[in-house]
Amino acid sequence: MKKLARWLTRFYPRWWRARYGCEFEALIEDSTLTVLDLFGVVRSALEMRMKTTPSPHIVSLASRDIPHGHELESSVEMPQPDGSTMLVRNFCREIDLGDSYVTLNHWSRGAQPAQTVLVFGRKGEVDGDFGTDKTEMLVLGPDGTIQRTEQTVKTWLKYDAIRDGLRDRYRNGMQAGLTPDEIFQRIRSEN
């Protein structure tokens, strides 16, 4: 039965086997299979092969208000095509100083060295849904190097409202006792 379980599990895509393979084999070993069940497994495996990779899994998420701004700290397991997951950690701090702002973004992707980006922006003219900001961006490399870029960027003002809305929904969900994944799924199904 163990051989049959392993053989049947091989019909499924790699991402699926990585997540469910072990428990699925245990179930097959416990069950008395009929011919119909075998067809059911093949059909289910084909269905899974037509699906894309699964959703990211939010391991932790925290959002805090700070003077003139807020912080967001997250770690997310991103599914990879080979069935493995990559941990992405991110820390973001935004400070609004009225006519200017400062954002700090610090993140790491899997085993790659962490990257830090510091942006100072001066809010420019507003035209409809867009603003034109003059920004200075500093990319602080893990080897101690600094790349400096100055540019005028067009910012979408609606983005701020959307992001603030999302942050509020996360906070309300956390207060209601939901896990970050449950909040993520709820937001995704609502949009």
Partner: protein, 96 residues
Amino acid sequence: MSDPTLLVLASLAEGDKHGYAMMEDIHHFAGVRLGPGTLYGAITRLEQRGWIRAVKSTEDRRQPYTLTVDGRRHLEEQLSDWNQIVRTGLKRLKHA
């Protein structure tokens, strides 16, 4: 009601269960025998929608699952819809 995802949710409404226990329970309360492929197809969809989640287990390979808050809400909505259909159907049969 033979939608495998609803059967799984209804089974987990009683308490956390692993795959084999779900199969047995569903057979017992609904008279439907879900095969392993159908069961795990439903588990995959439900977990991706955030309606169930895996819980820590002392057993090595058998993975138990639990209903999430959203899963419970979805099940309640679905059962309420079914209840309405059943009541309407029975009422109409009486008057037919």
